[in-house]
C-alpha cells in the first residue's frame, strides 16, 4: 500500500540522481580504462637511462 502519491518533483529528482549516478559510474570506467591502456603501453615506465643509472 502506498502511503502517498509520488509528486512529479520526486520523479524529476529521481531522474537527476540516476543520471548523476550513471555519469559517475562512467567516469570510474573511463579512469580505469585509461589506466589499463597507459600501464599496458608502458607510458608510466621511467626512461631507459634512468633505469640503467640505478
Amino acid at each position: 500500500m502506498s502511503f502517498r502519491e509520488e509528486h512529479e518533483l520526486h520523479g524529476r529528482r529521481k531522474g537527476r540522481n540516476i543520471g548523476l549516478g550513471l555519469t559517475l559510474a562512467a567516469f570510474i570506467v573511463i579512469i580505469f580504462g585509461l589506466t589499463v591502456v597507459k600501464v599496458t603501453r608502458g607510458d608510466f615506465e621511467p626512461p631507459r637511462g634512468q633505469v640503467e643509472g640505478n
Binding site: 502517498r4 509528486h7 524529476r12 529528482r13 531522474g15 537527476r16 543520471g19 573511463i30 591502456v37 603501453r41
Partner: protein, 312 residues
C-alpha cells in the same frame, strides 16, 4: 517531507537531468565531435582506440562547458529570442548561477582530463577554445560588433585542430587548413540564419550584420564570403588533407553553395518575404551538409591511405 513543503518548492526552478544536458548544447556538440574525430583520425599518427574515444569525449565536454557559460552570460538575450527562449536558463528550469557552475566545473574537468589522457598541446588548445568562445565571443564580440560571428567563428573551428593535436602532439599545415575551412564557412552559415531570423536578433539588441548594415549588405557579404570559401575549400583538395574523393566532393558542393549564395544575392527583401525566405533556409540547410561532406571526404581520404588509395 510534507505536502506543504512540496508545494512551496514547486515554485523554485528544479531541473531534471536532461535540462543540465541541454545546457551543453548537444546539437553544437555533434559538430564538435565529428570535426574533432576527423582531425584525430586524419592525422598520420595512430591513437589507441580507447584513448581516442576518451579524447573526443573530453573535447565534447569542453565544447559543452563553453555552451553552458554562453547560456549563463546570454540568459537575458536568450529570453528575448524566439529561437532560444526555451533554453534551460530563460525557461526557468536552471538558474544562471547553476549554468555558471556547470560551465566552470566542466571546463576545468575537460581540460585536465584531456591533458592527462593525451598531451598538453591538445589540452591547451581546448582551454583556449573555451576561453575564446565564452570570453572573446560571448562576453565581448557578440554584443559589440557585426563582425561577431566572423571572428567568433574561430571557436567552432578549433575542434579538428584539437583532434589533430591529440594524435600528433602539435599543430601543422593540415590542421590549420581544417581550421580555415570551418572558419570561412561560419559567416555565410550564420548570416543566412540571420536573414530569416532577423527580428529575433533585433529584439535582443544583438548587432548582427542584418541589424546594423541591413539585409542587402548581408546578402552581398554572404556571396563574397562563399566565393572566398569555395577558393579555399577547392584549393585544399590539392594539399595533404585532399585527394580525388575530397576534390570531387569539394567541386560539386562548392558549385552548389556558390549557386545558392548567388540566389541569395540576386533577390531582394520583397521576393524573400513573399516566399518566406525559402532560398535562405535552403542555403542554411545546405551549409550543414556542406561541412559534414567536406570533413567526411577528408576522413575518407585518410581511411583509404593504408591501402594506397587516399590522398595524392
Amino acid at each position: 517531507m510534507s505536502d506543504a513543503t512540496i508545494n512551496s518548492t514547486r515554485q523554485q526552478p528544479e531541473a531534471g537531468f536532461g535540462d543540465y544536458v541541454a545546457l551543453l548544447k548537444p546539437r553544437v556538440m555533434s559538430l564538435v565531435v565529428f570535426t574533432a574525430a576527423v582531425g584525430l583520425l586524419a592525422a598520420p599518427v595512430p591513437v589507441h582506440p580507447f584513448i581516442a574515444f576518451c579524447a573526443i569525449l573530453f573535447i565534447a565536454i569542453g565544447g559543452g562547458a563553453s555552451g553552458a557559460l554562453n547560456m549563463w552570460w546570454d540568459a537575458d538575450i536568450d529570453a528575448r529570442m524566439k529561437r532560444t527562449a526555451r533554453r534551460p536558463v530563460p525557461a526557468g528550469k536552471v538558474t544562471a548561477d547553476e549554468a555558471l557552475a556547470v560551465g566552470v566545473a566542466l571546463s576545468g574537468f575537460s581540460v585536465t582530463m584531456l591533458w592527462l589522457a593525451t598531451n598538453w598541446v591538445a589540452a591547451a588548445i581546448l582551454a583556449f577554445t573555451i576561453f575564446f568562445y565564452a570570453v572573446i565571443y560571448t562576453m565581448w564580440l557578440k554584443r559589440w560588433t557585426p563582425q561577431n560571428i566572423v571572428i567568433g567563428g574561430a571557436a567552432g573551428a578549433f575542434p579538428p585542430m584539437i583532434g589533430w593535436a591529440v594524435a600528433t602532439g602539435g599543430v601543422s599545415v593540415e590542421s590549420v587548413l581544417m581550421f580555415a575551412l570551418i572558419f570561412m564557412w561560419t559567416p555565410p552559415h550564420f548570416w543566412a540564419l540571420a536573414l530569416f531570423m532577423n527580428s529575433d536578433y533585433e529584439n535582443a539588441g544583438v548587432p548582427m550584420l542584418t541589424v546594423t548594415h541591413g539585409r542587402r549588405t548581408t546578402r552581398n557579404h554572404i556571396f563574397v564570403y562563399t566565393l572566398l570559401l569555395a577558393v579555399l575549400a577547392v584549393g585544399a583538395g590539392f594539399t595533404a588533407i585532399g585527394g580525388p574523393i575530397y576534390l570531387a566532393v569539394a567541386v560539386v558542393l562548392n558549385a552548389m553553395f556558390v549557386l545558392g549564395a548567388w540566389g541569395i544575392w540576386r533577390r531582394d527583401e520583397e521576393a524573400a518575404a513573399a516566399d518566406k525566405y525559402i532560398v535562405e533556409k535552403k542555403f542554411f540547410k545546405m551549409s550543414l551538409l556542406y561541412l559534414f561532406a567536406h570533413f567526411g571526404a577528408i576522413l575518407a581520404e585518410a581511411a583509404l591511405r593504408p591501402w594506397g588509395l587516399g590522398g595524392w
